[in-house]
Amino acid sequence: MDKMPAWADAVLVPLISLILAGVLSALVILAIGESPVEAVNYMVKGAFGSTNGWGYTLYYATNFMFTGLAVAVAFHARMFNIGGEGQAMLGGLGVALVCLYIPWPHWSLALIGSITGAAIFGALWAAIPAYLQARRGSHIVITTIMFNFIAFSVLNYVLVNVLKPAGAMDPATAKFPEATHLPTLHDMLAPLGIAFSKSSPANVTLFVALAACVGVYYLIWRTKLGYEIRAYGFSESGAVYAGISPFKIIMVVMLLSGALAGGMAVNNVMGEAERLVMNSVEGAGFIGIAVALMGRSHPFGVFLAAILFGFLYQGGAEMAFWTKIPRELVVVIQALVILFTGALDNMVRMPLEKMFLAMRKKGDA
């Protein structure tokens, strides 16, 4: 077999890409006259050095798990859903409506309600491009990205004209009622005697995200539907020959994808802000693409990549706090990671593959 071992594909390639991105970032930091060692120090300490840092890292990671899974699920059917941003926005609207207009007696019920609301709104938003792809052949990449802009305008209209409290300055909903406030990791770990930072936003949604990772794994690799999705992704004509309906697969996979992207809103809208603001998604939908690419569309890979990006977000913020490195540079570092792990994948993979093959030939001889 002219392939390299699975562990090298799954671990070595991303790791080397990361190191390359790190080296390049270090050069950029050097070029603006700051110390890369100090910068890394701040990033690592800031993201993992305290429970407060962990809280933020996990909060961001929760967002990225949802959007990363959304892209990953669709990708198994070779659907490139880049509308996670818009689906998460609409998911936020679903959460806001559920939290504001239903008098919940307890947060646990409100959580179930808002997961449902977020999933339905996200899925419906993905359903239109999915239908257009399945029935009309409109390319899913084009339609989903255009739907991001439509989502922004829709949310804008609803916030300004319907949900904004009278006299308020910014387009945002009122604060959600007390009963819908989700417990943070601090509230959940305190009874176990573990002191976790009170001010960090990580909340119970983290466990919802982990459950979603497990659920996606079972769906894709352990169910008949998952098999059909993967079969369709490998070969559409083969799948049709086997009696799999492309319409059904495209619709199901995109609805699932939209529901997962929408699910992110439970974390940021209900768990953190406790109200819906205009720019609540803040690019997490697009980060999800990088997370899925890096995680090789496997839920465990998505989980690891989400933690990595959570670290980049929180560590980047800490770096911006205590050094003179501007916030734009943090974006540059994130972009380098995406570039190396996503776009320049083959640059690392091909020489590595050659190296493994050469080693194997030596072994054979």
Binding site: S50, Y56, N156, D170, S199, S200, S280, E282, F321, P326
Partner: protein, 329 residues
């Protein structure tokens, strides 16, 4: 327990490596970023002026996400920064939750009121400054029609408009004031093309002086006014230089003074409600070589008289936000 000690040690380590120059002030900029040519940049200029004059240093951070607001406040408070200054009404929610946890730290918030014992809330009497430029607009107008272009339609911008109309009517009770808002969303702060279209529409209705209170949208207003050879009035910082000889004046909102003052006061800063108006140089109108030829001695005398009357309390300009309505149109 050892784990906890490790965490505490790490936190202390960060505080130490950060220099932890106790009582250095901190400046937090809103999502617009510190080089927005307007509000945040003015705050940055104030902080820079403080640093240059005192040789001190200050922490600073530009927001990247909504979740960072509370984080930034807490991190700076824990590092010993004092006072902590922030720009924009969007901080109100985070600040009212954080301030009680750090009773020994002083906070200053600009453009919003947060009622906590250790918070200074700085608000500006924009209606007073708008009144002054309204007087100048009415005197400079030859057609008897002047106009106003606002950014996003929020109570704060109506406050500008209401002061402007009052000033114009004080000079000429029969003057016609056309008012337009650019939009109802934050995008309205950054739409110079629409600003330009609105200006053209107002010129078609006879306006020959236009006041723009619309962020970057105003740059389109000023440009079109200069192109069409009518006068314009800038806002927030001194914008007279943008089109010399075409900008009648600028309504100045001295965010830089507010930031400078808060940093000067240091950890002993007095807290409470701080109104920046004409009487304490928080609000004013811009005079420089670029508009000297446009402002007649007569005009200057009348504005200065009104300015003195407002400062002494003899003249009260109606504040739209106090009643959510304006007595004149």
């Amino acid at each position: 327990m050892t784990l906890m000690q490790k965490f505490l040690g790490a936190a202390a380590g960060i505080a130490l490596t950060a220099g932890a120059a106790v009582a250095d002030p901190a400046m937090i900029f809103d999502l617009g970023g510190k080089f927005d040519k307007s509000f945040n940049e003015s705050a940055f200029n104030g902080a820079t002026r403080w640093a240059e004059e005192t040789g001190g240093t200050f922490f600073e951070i530009e927001m990247q996400s909504e979740a960072q607001r509370e984080q930034a406040l807490r991190r700076f408070a824990e590092a010993g920064a004092n006072p902590i200054v922030m720009t924009g009404f969007a901080f109100a929610g985070a600040l009212s939750e954080v301030a009680p946890d750090y009773p020994d730290t002083k906070f200053a918030i600009i453009d919003m009121v947060v009622d906590q014992p250790n918070v200074r809330s700085v608000v500006f009497n924009e209606h007073e400054g708008s009144y002054l430029v309204g007087i100048m607009a009415a005197q400079a107008s030859k057609t008897g029609t002047v106009s106003f272009i606002g950014g996003m339609d929020i109570p704060l911008i109506r406050k500008f408009a209401c002061g402007y109309v009052q000033g114009a009517k004080a000079v000429n009770p029969d003057i016609k004031v056309i008012q337009n808002m650019t939009g109802t969303t934050p995008a309205a702060w950054n739409d110079p093309v629409k600003g330009s279209e609105l200006t053209k529409a107002q010129i078609a209705q006879g306006s020959d002086v236009v006041f723009a209170a619309a962020g970057s949208t105003g740059l389109g207003v000023l440009q079109t006014a200069a192109d069409e050879n009518i006068l314009s009035i800038g806002v927030d910082s001194n914008q007279n230089y943008i089109h010399p000889g075409k900008v009648l004046t600028s309504m100045m909102k001295r965010v830089d003074n507010a930031v400078y003052q808060a940093m000067m006061d240091g950890p002993d800063m007095e807290t409470g409600f701080n109104v920046m108006g004409i009487s304490n140089d928080g609000i004013g109108y811009a005079m420089d070589e670029n508009n000297a030829a446009l402002v007649s001695a007569d005009m200057q005398a009348m504005v200065d008289a009104a300015s003195a009357k407002i400062a002494s309390g003899e003249l009260v300009v109606h504040d739209y936000m106090s009643s959510d309505s304006c007595p004149v149109e």
